[in-house]
Every structure is written in structure tokens, then in C-alpha cells.
Amino acid sequence: MDEVISAILVYGTLWGATYSLLALGLTLIYGVGKIVNLAHGAFIMLSAYFFYYFLVLGGVNYVASFLLAILCVIALAVLMYVLAIHPIRQSEMSVLTITFGLGLVFQYVILLTFGPLSKSVPYIFSGTMTFLGTTVETQFASVIIAFVISCALLSLFLSRFKVGKAVRAVAQDGEAAEAFGISTFRIYILTMGIAAALAGVASVLVAPTYALFPGMGWEPMVTVFAILIFGGLGSIKGTILASFILGYTRNAVSLVFSPAYGPVVALVVLIAVILVRPSGIFGRGV
């Protein structure tokens, strides 16, 4: 029994960290621009595939592949935003639907380029580590470091730097921010980039432990939305809290019942939260 509890705690924490990285960017985008980006899952998928491309097909070293993959995904996110989202951003539903379509476009491009068979990516970090009696792959454990660093950087950025404060201003009131001379357009692009970067980092770090396939992004993304809504759209604290709660829950279910139920947990949470309290824990309101 102790082993199970330890496993739940350890893996749950790692999952929480992973989800946080995946979700933080999305909550930021929503908080800043009220944009619900259904292509986020595609970015999760794309960063993994870009990494695969550079590392496995391109023969580039780990660090460079990692950086290139993140850069590519950031560039794509910005491009997508400028061309497809910004012009129609007044209508939430339009953005939702077009990003849905774009998510599919990305999926199918990857399908055509790499085929339907799953790919695997070699480990950056090898070996295992043990915490509280539970053994985890070092690769997976690295996610917690990325999480801590990202949180620190993000918090620093938002509180100390001028641009970061501009981001917060736009999140509060876009029009007022414009009146103060802040270019909301640039802020939106910046936020999209940050979101893609955070998701990309998580995705690439975790990628070696998974099989890559073109449709892999949707399920994590729906989990992320469950987290977002659970924690309150636009609330960073809520998102992180919800990420960990979901991480622990999903792990508990996986370990106690069966791993197959993992994704279902997130979906059930999403449905339940939407029904009971759409504004979430720290939400700003429906």
C-alpha cells in the first residue's frame, strides 16, 4: 500500500508539473486575449515531431534539436495567430472553430509527412531516479526542474519586467492598455509564443517516454482544458493547483484501476466541472 501511495505522490507530482507547463500558456493566452486555442494540442504534438525530425532525421545534437524544436513551434504559433486568429479574434466561437480546423491541418500535415506509424524519440537523460521508494525515469523527472524554472521565470517576468507588466495590463483590460500605448497585438503574439514554448518544453522532455503519432495532441489538450476550466480560465494560480490535483487524481486512478482509464479521468473532470462550476476554483466568471 505504501508503494502505491508513494507512486501516486511521485508520479502525480511529475504529472502535475507536466500539465502545468502544458496548461500555463493556454491560461495565459485566455487571460490576456480571451482566446481559446484548440490548436494547442497540435503544438504539443508538433514540438515532439520537430524534435524527432531534428534529432533522429537531421542528426543534430540534443540541445540544438531541443532548441530548434521549441523555436519552430513558437514561430508556427505566432504565424498561426497573425494569419488566422488575430483578424477574427472578436468572436470567441470563430477562434475556437478556426483553431480546431488548424489543429486538424497540423495533424494531417504531420500524417502525410511522417506517416501514421508511431515514432519514438531517444532519451536525453538516461537512467532512473528514486524518490520516496518509487523509481522514475530521469527523463520524466526532469520535467519538475523545467516546471520550477519556468514558474520562476514567468513570475519574474510578469512582476519585474516592463513587458511582463504590460501583459498583466492587457489581461486586466485590453482597451485601457491600448490607451496607455501598449500594443495589444504585440502582447498577444508574445503570449502565444510563451504558451507554445512552455508546452513545447514539456512535450519534448516527456516525448521519449511516449510513442509519437499525429493525433497525439488532442487528448492531452482536452485534459489541459479540463484543468483550465477547473482552475479558472485565466488564473495562473488556479491552473497550477488544478494541474496538480488532476495529476494526482489521474495517477491514482491509473495505478489503482488501470492506465487505460487515465484519459477518461480528465474528460470526466472536464465534464463535471463544466456542469457544476464553470468558473472554476479561482475563476473570473463564466
Partner: protein
């Protein structure tokens, strides 16, 4: 001969997809409730019909109707609980439901056959027979749904789509009508799914896939939302598209997704029309708060 049969298959599929498209249109194009998970109804209808046919009921037409009924039950659950939801939440929720059902189809393999699904024996005397049945089905659905769209109920749907609060202020019971839209939509989608299963003789978890939900939206978008006929047109255009890139199903998918995105980005009407109303409703909620 072989060529003719192939054409019949395509046309049959077009007819069935047309019903799926029409079912989405009456819900989204008329009542303004945008579903991103219509595959949930399609798949549930298919699995219910297949399961009943394999184990309990010999008459496929009856099982298809029961498939529709199962989808209706699901719609009552979704509609009954989600009525207060804003467009974005409803969209996510319907997507989540379809995904959950897809996962359950794999997990509950004793009932559903897991990844391999439920194989079905032929119920149609010939492909020609299947085609004519599908044509009748499509036409009956078309007439019924156009009838609804032009009826009092259809007008109430449109009022709800245009401005739900204003509709309420006129005495329209928006909850009841939205639920009705869900029920009607689910029924046709469910029967279409059931029919599809019997036609291609296998029901698999991908009936619940995002791809199917995507098609349910794509077809009306291409043909013209809020017209019912447009959905049928869209279904045929889709089959045409698929045929034109025959040889690579993957190219077809990409092409379809690109067309979808381009229409949304540049088309003056179409989905933009109703999604703008999603926005109006969202905005309106805030406006009612103004003192």
C-alpha cells in the same frame, strides 16, 4: 459493373453523411448550439444498433431506430445538464463526451469488441438496394428537417440563435426548444451512424473520432449553414473531394481541413454567421448586467 458498384457505395455514404450534416445544421445552424462532438451521437447510434442486432434483435431497421433512440437519450443527458452553458463550454463539453465514448468503446471490449469493433453481416440484398434505402432515408430526413426548420419550432430555434435573452423576453421557453433541437439532431445523427455501420458492416471506435465530428461541421460549412439543403450539398461536395484525391486518403483529410480553415477565415457568411452569434450571446450576457 465494378465501377457502378463503386459509385453506388460513394453515393450511399454521401447520403448517410448528408443526414449527419443535416442533423448538425438543425442544432447549430438553426438553434445556434454548436457541437464539436457530433460523433458521439453517430457512434452511439452505430454501436447500439450493432450490439442489438448481434445479440437480440433480428430486424436491422428496428435496431437503427433504437440506435437513434440511444442517441436521443444521450442528448437528453447532455442537453438537460448543459443548457446554461456558453458556446465555448458547450463546444468543449461535446468534444469531451465524444472522446470519452471513444475511449470507452476501446475499454469496454467485451461489449464493444474493443479496437476491433463489432463486425456485422449483410442486411442489404445488394449494393443497389443499400443505395436506394439510403436515398429514401436521406430524403425522409431532408423533408422532415426542412419541415421543422420552417415550422414554428424552427422559427423559435432561430430566435434563440439570434438572441436567446431577447427570445426569453418574448415568452419563448428557450430551454425546452434547445432541448428539442438536441433531441432531433441526436436522433438523425444516431440513425445515420447505425445505418452506416450496417452498410460498411463494421462498427469501430473511430466512429467517435474527431474526424467524424469534424465532418459534421465541415459539410454544412461548405454547403451553407442554416439551410438544411446546404448540408446535403456539403455532403456531396465532400464525397467529390474525397474522390478527386482518390489514392491518398491523407491528402483528402488535409485538403478538407485546409478548405475548412480558409472558409472560416475568409468567407463572409457560413460558419462565421453563427459563430458571430455565439459572440453576440456571450457579449449579451455581459450586457444584461449593465445597470
Amino acid at each position: 459493373m465494378l465501377g457502378d458498384r463503386y459509385l453506388l457505395v460513394i453515393l450511399t455514404i454521401a447520403n448517410l453523411y448528408a443526414v449527419l450534416a443535416m442533423s448538425w445544421d438543425i442544432l447549430a445552424g438553426y438553434a445556434g448550439q454548436v457541437s464539436f462532438g457530433h460523433a458521439a451521437f453517430f457512434g452511439l447510434g452505430a454501436y447500439t444498433s450493432a450490439f442489438l442486432y448481434l445479440h437480440y434483435i433480428a430486424n436491422p431497421w428496428l435496431t437503427m431506430l433504437l440506435g437513434g433512440a440511444a442517441a436521443v437519450l444521450l442528448s437528453l443527458v447532455i442537453g438537460g445538464t448543459c443548457m446554461r452553458l456558453r458556446g465555448v463550454y458547450l463546444a468543449l463539453l461535446t468534444m469531451a463526451v465524444a472522446l470519452v465514448l471513444g475511449d470507452m468503446a476501446v475499454i469496454l471490449s467485451p461489449i464493444t469488441g474493443g479496437e476491433n469493433g463489432l463486425p456485422l453481416t449483410t442486411v442489404f440484398a445488394s449494393t443497389m438496394n443499400a443505395y436506394y434505402s439510403s436515398l429514401v432515408f436521406m430524403l425522409v430526413s431532408l423533408v422532415t428537417l426542412i419541415g421543422i426548420s420552417k415550422s414554428r419550432m424552427g422559427l423559435m430555434f432561430k430566435a434563440i440563435r439570434e438572441d436567446e435573452d431577447a427570445a426569453k423576453s418574448l415568452g419563448i421557453d428557450t430551454f425546452r426548444y434547445k432541448l428539442a433541437a438536441f433531441v432531433v439532431s441526436a436522433f438523425f445523427a444516431g440513425v445515420a451512424g447505425a445505418f452506416y455501420g450496417h452498410f460498411i458492416q463494421i462498427v469501430v471506435p473511430s466512429y467517435f473520432s474527431l474526424n467524424v465530428s469534424f465532418y459534421a461541421i465541415l459539410m454544412p460549412v461548405m454547403g451553407g449553414i442554416g439551410t438544411i439543403m446546404g448540408a446535403v450539398l456539403g455532403a456531396y461536395i465532400l464525397q467529390l473531394l474525397e474522390e478527386s484525391v482518390r489514392g491518398s486518403a491523407q491528402y483528402a483529410l488535409l485538403l478538407e481541413a485546409l478548405i475548412f480553415v480558409l472558409i472560416l477565415r475568409f468567407a463572409p457568411s457560413g460558419l462565421l454567421h453563427i459563430v458571430r452569434h455565439g459572440f453576440v450571446r456571450f457579449h449579451s450576457r455581459n450586457r444584461v448586467r449593465e445597470v
